[in-house]
């Protein structure tokens, strides 16, 4: 085994350090300075009212998770829509199986009352 073969890795690390360091240093020099007013949360020009750390219902969390699942499944459907004409019957069958699984999941969470706001 020749150690010289590992040179690209060393170069890779060095480059990574250099680029990262350069970006951090540059932005430290160039960036605008902080002031008290600039650090306030931006609320369409209106002064911030209540504190941001509030409790909110866990249902948001559940709904958000379910949204991500179905969102990603939808994202899979878009490319298929473009190529479906070329995929022919096989593509259609695959698509139907996939959509059936999504519908099954929807039925499941519906029956489990995960969509109801408590």
């Amino acid at each position: 085994m020749e150690l010289s073969a590992y040179l690209p890795i060393l170069v890779f690390f060095a480059l990574g350090l250099a680029v990262g360091g350069a970006i951090l240093t540059l932005s430290k020099i160039v960036r605008p300075k902080h002031t008290l007013v600039k650090d306030l949360p931006y609320e369409s020009g209106i002064l911030g009212g209540t504190p941001a750390r509030q409790r909110f219902s866990i249902d948001f969390y559940l709904t958000a998770m379910l949204f991500i699942v179905f969102d990603i499944e939808l994202a899979f459907l878009y490319p298929v829509a473009l190529t479906l004409r070329d995929d022919g019957l096989l593509g259609l069958v695959v698509l139907i199986v996939f959509v059936f699984t999504i519908v099954e999941a929807l039925v499941y969470i519906w029956k489990k009352k995960a969509l109801e706001w408590r």
């Binding site: 085994m1 020749e2 073969a5 590992y6 890795i9 096989l90 699984t101 039925v107 499941y108 029956k111």
Partner: protein
């Protein structure tokens, strides 16, 4: 258009569909359907998949353009997963994890089995990784299924975090392997890396190292075993039994598929690494098990040690080694299932039923179960003439044949150490006296499915020893299929 040949993938399709159906059975309003539907559908799916495996048995066929291979190796491993799932569904009968969540329990077990079957039959890296993720995600949820118990939640969370780390390392390894060869197809990778031109190439070595680490997480080999005792202890016991048999078999299947099946020409690079993992697992697993008072934790460490024994066969890097691993996986399924079955039965009778003191004098009160536990423990320790002895003998002789005698010696020494805790359990069960009286407190009737699963597993320990020859022949056929072009 790629060549489909769906028939070769029917076992996987049946199992996955059965999983989805079983999960929806838990949604029905009728109590009977909710109660018996999921198990019935899962068992029907297992039987159907088993029939398909028998029908497909033979030389390699490929489905979905080579993405899924159905050869003797994948079919035999699939049979192991299916038997494990059937036993677990039997053992979980009326278990608290399964009473209210029967649908999720049976359904997710089936989904996990579908993932394992994909791992065993993967023809390219993407299918392999998808299989590993499918089984892992299903198991994360199964571990946390008893949501009302904090330990169960802890188990699921710990498994999720460590499992995600393992998966990402594995994926990085696959990415480097793809980078080195420009293809994800296992056969093509094998061709490209064939010969010795790639030996010592840094990219390939890094890829192999990452894959060893990632799969080591899944197989709970030392030093990637940290999660195992906590997760195994907190999970519902039937799931622990499932994880320590089927998941281990899936991880070992991935080891064999990648290293034995694809990279046999680079054996010089990976054999020593896997051998070191094996030694560490045997030493740490067996020594740590000595100090445990909870049977579940003890069996968790024992399963770490057994990951070590199994990796000996992988490290041997020969057909003989692979054959020994496959045979031992079958034996290990029988004996571990029996051992966990005893814990499951006791757990339902008393609080803290998994602690060693709950078993004082238990074998005298329940002689049949006592004999089953004795068989399991002696076989796990490798007592002749039980099946565990034959399996270990095959593994160690494969190591000796491969000029790794030191590995066999460590394995044999580890087995001697393991006697310390296996015999301790038996001593407590047969000779111990309960703290508060002559007989162990509270013996409850055992449901028939639980008894049947326990009996099947216990009888298999003897059966696999009596009929070792045909089983070893089948295992050899599977091992040879790994290398078949």
């Amino acid at each position: 258009m790629t060549h489909l040949n769906v028939v070769a993938a029917t076992p996987q399709i049946i199992v996955a569909a059965a999983g989805v159906l079983a999960m929806s059975m838990g949604l029905f309003n009728r109590y009977e359907i909710r109660r018996y539907g999921p198990s019935a559908i899962s068992l029907a799916g297992i039987v159907a998949a088993f029939v398909m495996i028998v029908l497909l048995w033979g030389d390699r066929e490929e489905a979905f353009g080579g993405g899924i291979r159905s050869d003797r190796f994948s079919l035999l491993l699939s049979a192991i997963f299916l038997v494990s799932a059937a036993l677990v569904i039997g053992l979980a009968w009326r278990e608290s994890a399964a009473v209210d969540r029967r649908g999720e329990f049976a359904g997710l077990v089936m989904v996990a089995v579908a993932g394992m079957m994909l791992v065993a039959s993967a023809g390219d890296l993407i299918v392999l990784f998808l299989g590993i993720e499918t089984l892992s995600v299903a198991l994360y949820v199964l571990c946390a299924l008893e949501v009302w118990r904090e330990r169960s939640l802890e188990s699921g969370l710990k498994y999720l975090i460590t499992g995600a780390v393992g998966s990402s390392i594995l994926l990085y390894g696959f990415a480097l392997l793809f980078g080195a060869t420009g293809t994800v197809d296992l056969a093509e990778i094998g061709e490209q890396l064939g010969g010795t031109s790639f030996a010592g190439e840094p990219l390939v070595i890094a890829a192999m190292a990452l894959i060893v680490v990632g799969l080591g997480f899944k197989a709970s080999a030392v030093p990637f075993h940290m999660w195992t005792p906590d997760v195994y202890e907190g999970a519902p016991t039937s799931i622990t039994a499932f994880m320590s048999t089927a998941t281990k078999a899936a991880a070992l299947a991935a080891f064999l598929r990648i290293f034995q099946g694809v990279l046999p020409d680079l054996a010089g690079d990976w054999r020593v690494a896997i051998a070191v993992l094996a030694v560490a697992s045997i030493v740490v697993g067996n020594v740590a098990a000595l100090a445990q008072d909870s049977l579940k934790r003890m069996l968790a460490y024992s399963s770490i040690a057994h990951a070590g024994y199994l990796l000996i066969g992988v490290a041997a890097g020969s057909v003989q080694g692979a054959e020994a691993v496959i045979y031992y996986l079958i034996v290990y399924l029988a004996m571990t299932m029996t051992a966990f079955a005893v814990v499951i039965i006791r757990e339902r009778e008393v609080e803290n039923g998994e602690m060693l003191e709950a078993f004082a004098g238990y074998a005298r009160a329940r002689p049949v179960l006592g004999v089953a536990a004795t068989l399991a423990m002696l076989s796990l320790a490798g007592f002749p003439p039980l099946a565990g002895f034959i399996g270990k003998f095959l593994l160690f002789s494969a190591a000796v044949e491969a000029n790794m005698t030191w590995l066999a010696i460590v394995g044999a020494l580890g087995s001697v150490v393991s006697l310390g805790y296996y015999l301790r359990i038996l001593g407590v069960m047969w000779l111990g006296t309960p703290a508060d009286g002559e007989r162990p407190a509270r013996l409850l009737a055992v449901p028939a499915p639980v008894m049947m699963a326990t009996g099947t597993a216990a009888i298999a320990i003897i059966g696999l020893a009596l009929f070792a020859d045909p089983m070893i022949d089948i295992s050899r056929g599977a091992a040879e299929a790994l290398l078949a072009p």
